[in-house]
């Protein structure tokens, strides 16, 4: 089994995700980019699990999927609220985290 291909794919996905998180202004796109990163992680987990003949990786991947779903749910809700309050889903307008 070739581990490398999976890892390269996951790295690519992850970088795409990071790029999306850092660059995209729309909150929904950022969320989607995060999902990409999580997907990259899942790929890694499953790949390493298969590689080591170990089920733990797949179990973890299942967990991550669940949490990612929840996270997206919460994230989307926040985005919705932001949009309602600021009339925008542009992340450049959201500075309330500034200390």
């Amino acid at each position: 089994m070739l581990l490398n291909q999976f890892l390269l794919l996951s790295a690519f996905l992850f970088c795409t995700g990071i790029y999306g998180v850092l660059v995209r202004k729309h909150a929904v796109l950022v969320l989607m980019s995060i999902e990409l990163m999580l997907a990259a992680v899942n790929i890694n987990l499953v790949a390493f699990g298969a590689f080591r003949n170990n089920a733990i990786g797949q179990v973890f991947a299942l967990f991550v999927l669940t949490i990612a779903a929840a996270e997206v749910g919460v994230g989307l809700a926040i985005v919705l609220l932001i949009y309602r309050n600021l009339n925008s889903a542009n992340l450049d307008d959201v500075e309330t985290l500034k200390g």
Binding site: I18, L22, V30, L91, D92, V94, E95, L97, K98, G99
Partner: protein, 728 residues
């Protein structure tokens, strides 16, 4: 033992009680307390007379060999065996006064001839002065208080007289000083009076430095002799003759006590307070500053005479021709007499005369004439009190309460014949004219001085006698002879109380007033005491008539001392007596000639002759001693010295403290500013500030933009990854 001698402690106690009574209830009594004082002193006088008689009987009954006074008695017995007089112990009683180191020190009485004579003299003069004061002080602002003070004075003086130890003597001595202070300053509204009182107190107190140290020394002299310290006078007098005491301590004791005598008895150079003390009422001058208190010093000399006798080597064979005591006395005789010439105030003449006579007494002690000193003390009290009270009578009735002979007196002889007579008797007695009291006592001093080998003091005594006669002549002349210089007419010199009356409205009152203020004879209350004193001034001298000398028999101490021989009766010397009387007459004659202006050669001598002028200026300025004491020493201490010390206190010592405080504060500030605020706190603050500032820096990172955070995150991961890569 005689009741009066046993209970002589009552003599001082009764006036002391009287003092308290007058103070508490005097003002509410019908005669404002004067009756209490007179009654008390009268009782004391009776008790003193009883004691005197008791003492004389005691002497007669004393048998050789019956003495039981321990070692004293034994040594007396030895002397008796050698053919001396019968031993007579003083009457002693004592109670515990205080204790120290388990040893009880006592207070008590020592009644012997000397004490009895003093008690008699003090109570008699005090009684007469009390009676005299009732009239003289009538209507005074503090009549009651005056009598209270007189009572206290009498009590203190008698306490001093009966004392059986030097400490008790010191107590009485200081108390009479305070009474003197109170009475000199009796009219304290005027500053001169209170200043005179303070001067008197401070001057005598300066002498008391000596007394205090002397008394302390007596304690240790006895301690050296017996192993146990004591102030007891008999033990002291016995101790000083013991060879193992050592001469030095006795000499110092004698000199210290002599300083006390100099202060109290107005001896040169501390005599200057006595003339100023005349600021007090005249009865006070008579009682305190002539008859009694000022002789306390002489009394001390008499009481502890062995200290002086041994300390100053008065009677030892081959002694020098002078000693401190005789020297001081001799100088005082001349200084006092010379200063009496230039006084215009009649009381000051008498005050200087007192100084001079006290000089005689001290000189007598110095030349070993113990009995003569007692005798002169005794006679002097009477004629000097007589003179003072006479001066008071003159002032009271003849001179509008002034004492200035030059401006307010003169020619009073015809207005006040009785006062004149008593005054002349007193003056003659003072001048030592045969056969009045002063003659006998002064003569005895002169004879003893000659006999004991002090020829210089014989000469000084003679000169003093001449001067005394001369200044008393001047005094009598200015007061009683010549023209009356006072205000005949009350309208000419309106007094405050007269100005209140309007002459037009009440002519009768004015006439009465004029009558009251024209010179007139005093009434019986003033004249009575004068005549009693004159009586004693005439006859007291006969008590020691040659070859009968009762007085010496009564007072001479019978306990054995080395000076027994020197004080025993000295033969009367008719030639010397004649010389002194003639000298006195000559002095009086010259003075009479000078002051009446009848002799051309003497008139205005002080204006024409340079030497006489300088001399007079010196005398008028009282040898500049007052200047030295008041303007240099006292003003120096009160002014610059005290100020300097206080300056040092405020600016040096206090500043040390203040600077210490300020230094501590400054150090505190330094610590606070640099160590605490900038150091310790700086560290903490620095941490805080660093946090804050770094926060400021970091804050800039916190843009609040999620993506920026994410970038940081990624960057950090990158850094970690790099680190991981580098370090592994």
């Amino acid at each position: 033992m005689d009741w009066f001698l046993e209970n002589a402690w009552l003599v001082p106690l009764i006036p002391a009680v009287s003092f308290v009574v007058i103070l508490l209830v005097g003002k509410r009594m019908p005669r404002q307390g004067s009756e209490v004082g007179i009654a008390a002193v009268g009782t004391s006088f009776v008790l003193s007379c009883g004691a005197a008689i008791g003492w004389i009987r005691h002497l007669q009954h004393a048998e050789p060999g019956t003495s039981a006074l321990g070692a004293l008695g034994r040594s007396v017995g030895r002397l008796t065996a050698e053919g001396h007089e019968a031993p007579v112990e003083p009457v002693l009683r004592s109670v515990t006064w205080f204790q120290n180191g388990g040893v009880k020190l006592t207070a008590g009485i020592q009644i012997d001839g000397l004490a009895v004579v003093m008690m008699f003299m003090v109570t008699l003069v005090s009684l007469l002065v009390h009676i005299y004061s009732v009239e003289y002080m009538r209507g005074d602002r503090r009549f009651t208080y005056f009598f209270a003070a007189l009572s206290l004075f009498t009590a203190s003086m008698l306490l001093l007289v009966v004392a059986d130890n030097t400490l008790q003597l010191l107590v009485g001595w200081e108390l009479v000083g305070v009474c003197s202070f109170m009475l000199i300053g009796h009219w304290w509204e005027e500053k001169e009076n209170s200043s005179a009182a303070i001067k008197a107190f401070l001057t005598t107190r300066t002498g008391d430095i000596g007394l205090m140290i002397g008394v302390i020394t007596t304690f240790f002299i006895v301690q050296r002799a017996t192993g146990e310290g004591s102030f007891n006078i008999i033990e002291l007098n016995r101790a000083v003759s013991e060879p193992r005491i050592g001469h030095t301590i006795v000499l110092w004791c004698a000199l210290a006590l002599l300083l006390g005598i100099i202060g109290k008895s107005g001896q040169f150079p501390l005599h200057t307070w006595l003339p100023d003390a005349m600021a007090g009422p005249t009865p006070v001058s008579a009682l305190i500053h002539a008859a009694t208190m000022v002789v306390a010093g002489v009394y001390l000399g008499l009481r502890v005479y062995p200290v002086f006798f041994h300390g100053l080597s008065i009677g030892t064979p081959g002694h020098s021709w002078i000693n401190w005591m005789a020297g001081v006395g001799g100088i005082t005789v001349l200084v006092g007499a010379s200063l009496a010439f230039v006084q215009d105030d009649i009381k000051k003449v008498l005050a200087y005369s007192t100084i001079s006579q006290l000089g005689y007494m001290v000189m007598a002690l110095g030349v070993g004439a113990w009995t003569a000193a007692v005798f002169h003390l005794f006679t002097h009290a009477f004629f000097k009190a007589d003179l003072f009270l006479g001066a008071g009578s003159v002032s009271h009735s003849g001179a509008h309460h002034s004492f200035d002979m030059k401006t307010d007196m003169g020619g009073l002889k015809k207005y006040m014949p009785q006062t004149y007579r008593t005054f002349v008797i007193g003056s003659l007695a003072l001048a030592g004219i045969f056969p009045l009291a002063g003659f006998w006592s002064k003569d005895e001093i002169l004879v003893s001085a000659g006999h004991n080998g002090y020829k210089l003091f014989l000469v000084i005594g003679l000169v003093g006698a001449v001067l005394t006669a001369a200044y008393m002549t001047r005094c009598v002349y200015l007061t009683f002879h010549g023209e009356y210089r006072g205000a005949h007419d009350p309208h000419a010199v309106p007094h405050a109380d007269e100005a209140e009356h309007d002459p037009a409205d009440t002519p009768a009152l004015v006439e009465l007033d004029a009558h009251a203020h024209a010179p007139h004879e005093s009434n019986g209350l003033l004249l009575g005491p004068l005549w009693v004193l004159s009586f004693f001034a005439v006859f007291a001298g006969f008590l020691n008539f040659p070859h009968w000398s009762r007085f010496a028999l009564w007072v001479d101490p019978r306990y054995p001392t080395q000076f027994q021989e020197i004080i025993s009766e000295v033969a009367f010397n008719p030639i010397l007596a004649a010389i002194s009387v003639l000298g006195a007459l000559a002095g009086g004659g010259v003075a009479w000639a000078y002051y009446t202006g009848r002799v051309e050669a003497l008139r205005d001598l002080t204006l024409r002759n340079g030497a006489a002028r300088v001399g007079k200026r010196l005398l008028v300025n009282k040898y500049y001693l007052d200047y030295l004491y008041e303007d240099v020493i006292v003003a120096g201490i009160r002014g610059p010295v005290a100020q300097a010390v206080y300056w040092v206190n405020q600016h040096v010592i206090d500043n040390v403290l203040n600077y210490a405080g300020r230094g501590a504060q400054a150090l505190g500030h330094l610590t606070y500013d640099y160590v605490d605020q900038k150091g310790v706190d700086g560290l903490v603050n620095g941490l805080g500030a660093a946090t804050g500032e770094s926060g400021g820096v970091v804050r800039r990172i916190q843009t609040g933009r999620l993506q920026f955070y994410a970038l940081m995150l990624v960057g950090a991961v990158g850094v970690f990854a790099l680190a991981l890569w580098v370090f592994t």
